[in-house]
């Protein structure tokens, strides 16, 4: 502690340089924190609570094609199937095209069962469930979505779909609080409205989500279903919900490799910048360091003082970067979450925070160690001559 003054004063000896180094470190930490959190959020999307026991049956050619609802008859006969539901992407807009959110036509009763974790079914009042099941124009919406538009139970929501050239007027019967905010950015209504109003949707659905009794049975079930409908007019592709979500995400490219590559590039760049700064900061104090050693400071003490400086610099950068990232993440979740549902769950996790702190500590140690070690071992007489 008695050397703290010396370490702090040395660190801020050149305020502009220290400020710029802290700033560049913090920008790097900020980027890494955001990129890693984005990756974490996207990965979490492919592994939602109940998704491990579910798989999706869709058209083999494209998930945008519809398949016969009668396929469910075969599914009903499979002993490993616990429950299934049908759904169709509606793509409806509320008042304005900017008001985009996920909305589906579903079979209400089975939907609530198959997605019971996401809808947090036990928390929904029974009368709301009853109203939703009874009302053919009823719909259920997530709390975050309802809050966004100021909806409450009983409100009427008009949704206009350009895909089906159809406007539905839906009565809000359930507002559910999901386990995750992204699960709350969804609206589901009775698919019968769609099937009755659009001739080519009659007896057809976009996909069937199946809930298996045991996750271990899923691969066998998928194979059996696809085999059964092979060579039919519409062949099927059955994949786990995680894989389905992953496929959707992969439309963005190999984002994981991309994010890791960018993070690594940022790290290498900042390591070089910090190492250069520290080397410069130490080199210009060669005489001072040699004087201190002449006065009796041991090499180890000099090394510790310089390392403490490097670590402190890194921690300052880390702290500022994390604070920035948390602020931006919170804003992004609020703003972007209204447009992209899964962004509503965007947070900097404690694991990412820890990762950032560890990375910056490692950066501080790595960038300082070599110049500090050399300075602490340099012959004193040589250092005293270096003016």
């Amino acid at each position: 502690m008695r050397f703290l003054t010396l370490v702090l004063r040395s660190l801020f000896r050149s305020k502009r340089r220290t400020f710029l180094t802290v700033l560049s470190l913090s920008v790097s930490v900020f980027l890494i924190a955001l990129l890693q959190s984005l990756l974490g959020t996207m990965d979490a999307l492919t592994t939602s609570t109940g998704s491990g026991t579910r798989f999706v049956v869709q058209d083999k050619a494209s998930f945008t094609n519809v398949i016969p609802q009668a396929y469910t008859n075969f599914l009903r006969q499979q002993p490993e199937v616990e429950r299934f539901t049908v759904l169709q992407w509606f793509g409806g807009e509320y008042k304005d095209p900017k008001n985009f959110f996920a909305n589906f036509g579903v079979d209400p009763e089975s939907y609530l069962q198959v997605y019971r974790e996401e809808a947090n079914l036990p928390s929904i009042p029974l009368e709301q469930v009853r109203d939703f099941l009874r009302d053919g124009n009823g719909c259920m919406v997530g709390r975050a979505l309802a809050d966004k538009f100021g909806w409450k139970v009983g409100d009427v929501v008009p949704l206009k779909s350009s895909i089906f050239n159809l406007t539905v007027r839906l009565n809000i019967r359930i507002i559910f609080a999901g386990l995750r905010k992204s699960d709350e950015m969804v609206l589901a209504f009775n698919i019968k409205q769609l099937q009755e109003a659009v001739p080519w949707m009659k007896g057809r659905v976009g996909a069937i989500t199946v809930r298996a009794k045991n996750p271990a049975d899923i691969p066998r079930l998928c194979e059996r279903i696809d085999h059964h409908f092979a060579n039919s007019a519409q062949e099927t592709l059955s994949i786990t919900e995680n894989a389905f979500n992953l496929n959707m995400m992969k439309l963005l490219g190999d984002y994981s490799t991309m994010v890791h590559s960018i993070s690594a590039a940022v790290l290498v760049a900042i390591l070089i910048v910090t190492a250069n700064t520290m080397a410069m900061a130490i080199r210009e104090r060669t005489t001072q360091i040699s004087t201190m050693r002449a006065l009796g400071f041991r090499s180890g003490q000099i090394l510790s003082l310089l390392m403490a400086e490097g670590l402190l610099l890194s921690l300052l950068g880390s702290g500022l970067g994390i604070a920035l990232a948390m602020g931006v993440a919170s804003a992004a979740a609020k703003v972007a979450g209204q447009i992209i549902p899964w962004m509503a769950d965007f947070i900097i996790t404690p694991e990412t925070l820890l990762l950032c702190v560890l990375i910056t500590l490692a950066l501080g140690l790595l960038s300082t160690f070599i110049p500090a070690y050399r300075a602490s071992r340099r012959p004193i007489t040589e250092g005293l001559r270096a003016l």
Binding site: L295, G296, S299
Partner: protein
């Protein structure tokens, strides 16, 4: 207790440039008594600073024996040597070598941070050292806020704050004007006469050397002669 502060026997120092050995000091035999005041003189390249560095324990000899302040320095490792310096040697440099981010008080305190002393005792010693060099009123000033003469006085205070037996000074007046140089030399002489410090000084300046009791002349790395100074300036009493 041995009355000899510095004892050198057949001391040698060489540097190596690849496979070429360049001798800097050869066969130095010297004894400086406790409380002695010696000036090392000689032309550039004669080895006077190298000799001072060896005596101060910041360089190692290539041969011979080196005993300073009652310790043989030959067998000490780097850390032991650092510990020995922190207890026994005070340094004064030509360019003062103060730490620019520390104020005068903190610069003087620096050697004490290496000792097991409480804050109050450190403060008492720092204030005493600063009062000896008459700089108590400037103790919160940073080196850049001090004149060259004041900086050297802070450096002198730093050299004596831990009460070392030996003070080594390498061209202490080299960067000072005549008035400040004279003040610094008078201060050193008082440290020698009134506090009994052993002082070894390297200088080119005959006037600076005239304050010492003995002048040791080096020539091409060999001890040429030792001359006693008889007509030293008369000092007013300064230190208490």
């Amino acid at each position: 207790m041995d009355d000899v502060s510095v004892r050198l026997r057949n001391l040698a120092k060489s540097y190596w440039r690849g496979s070429l050995e360049i001798p800097v000091l050869t066969g130095i035999d010297l004894e400086i008594p406790r409380g002695g005041y010696y000036a090392l003189m000689g032309p550039s390249g004669s080895g006077k600073t190298t000799l001072l560095n060896l005596i101060a324990g910041i360089d190692r000899p290539s041969g011979g024996e080196l005993e300073v302040c009652g310790h043989s320095l030959n067998g000490l490792n780097d850390d032991e040597l650092a510990g020995w310096r922190s207890r026994n040697v005070g340094f004064i440099f030509q360019n003062y070598n103060l730490v620019p981010v520390l104020n005068a008080y903190e610069n003087v305190e620096l050697p004490l941070l290496l000792q097991d002393l409480g804050r109050a005792e450190r403060r008492e010693r720092v204030l005493h050292a600063l009062s000896l060099v008459n700089l108590t009123d400037r103790m919160r000033n940073y080196p850049r806020q001090l004149s060259g003469g004041q900086e050297q006085r802070v450096a002198i205070a730093r050299a004596i704050v831990h009460d070392p037996e030996l003070i080594v000074a390498d061209e202490p007046t080299g960067a000072l004007d005549a008035k400040n140089a004279e003040e610094a030399l008078i201060l050193l002489e008082h440290l020698n006469q009134e506090l009994g410090k052993t002082i070894v000084l390297v200088t080119h300046d005959p006037k600076a050397a005239s304050h010492a009791r003995f002048q040791i002349h080096l020539e091409k790395g060999v001890l040429d002669r030792t001359v006693e100074v008889h007509d030293r300036p008369v000092l007013p009493r300064l230190l208490t």
